[in-house]
Subunit: 198 residues, 2 copies
């Protein structure tokens, strides 16, 4: 015999599929749903469906967007001669908090042989086509400072040498506000390598 | 300017209203939704609405149910002469894992003057009516071992003295598998008070 009424059981199972939601959290949320105002529950259900329906990829930069081309590609105030290459749409959000005012290109991941992700699975062909149509002066490789991100940056640097005048990689080093003592040795090595005159 | 496309922003805000879902978790789940198969997202949205629509309270025991009276009240194999009084439908789920085979009554909370919950806010009137219609031999008070749960048990014991032949309270003591050393002193005091011959 099922312990919970079937519709509740089903809701818990669906919630349990979400990332970071274990069976205890799913139960807690499901009971919250039972007690929440009907309008709040409908709003959540509609937001889920709407996000899925209305959001797609920009055909130029492959960031997520609800219009095509996306706001960032359409914005006439941004510089056209520099493209920052990132792995994920969330990286664009992070970079938008800095004063970077160029364009973006979202790869949709990083090269990872272990996970079966090769260059063909990423938006690299699309980047090449984009650069052919509208050449830039600088390409900033802002993939993550992980093995996969580094490999992807190396691959792109080799591929695009000669195509783009300047190919740069974002700096590795100590995080601002960080403590030397607690930083891992790879980061510290990179921070030393990247030292500059003051 | 909004950092995320509006439908995504809205989804994050709705997710953020759920218990235990902070803004980081909401973002993580929202991005998962964008990448998840359309069917999975529809299934979740439908489960939310269905749970809200189909689940109500049993008019007899006030447990949550998708039929009225609920499965537990309808089950002819359960004993009618003992009712276990609990605060919350989740407590019924917990007790169903034991070999208890009587009936339940769900109060819908506990007396808590601080939160403005008095006896009138709980299903106590309904319990009295139920006992009038069908008297029982024993009433087990299984409210939580908290200040509010204890107060509620005391209130019910006083109210129903004379109405029900036997009113009992579930035992407090050491949790099975627990370690004496790590148990709080209130629990240990209760465990000593509740000692019995072996």
């Amino acid at each position: 015999m099922a312990v919970f009424p079937q519709p509740l059981q089903r809701l818990m199972e669906e919630l349990n599929k979400l990332p970071g939601i274990g069976s205890k959290s799913a139960q807690r949320i499901a009971f919250h749903i039972l007690q929440a105002p009907k309008e709040e529950v409908s709003a959540l259900a509609e937001a889920l469906v709407a996000a899925k329906q209305k959001i797609g990829y920009c055909s130029n930069c492959f960031n997520i967007t609800d219009r095509d081309p996306c706001r960032l590609c359409q914005d006439p105030r941004r510089e056209d001669n520099v493209i920052c290459v990132v792995e994920d749409p969330r990286d664009v959000v992070a970079l938008e908090k800095t004063n970077f005012k160029g364009r973006y290109h979202v790869l949709g991941g990083a090269i990872s042989p272990l996970e079966g992700v090769g260059p063909e699975q990423l938006r690299i062909k699309e980047l090449l086509e984009r650069l052919k149509k509208q050449p830039v002066e600088e390409l900033i490789l802002a993939t993550n400072p992980t093995l996969e991100g580094e490999a992807t940056a190396m691959y792109l640097a080799r591929l695009l040498r000669g195509v783009v005048p300047s190919i740069t990689r974002i700096a590795h080093g100590l995080p601002v506000g960080g403590d030397l003592e607690y930083v891992d040795e790879m980061t510290l090595t990179k921070a030393l390598e990247g030292r500059h005159q003051i």
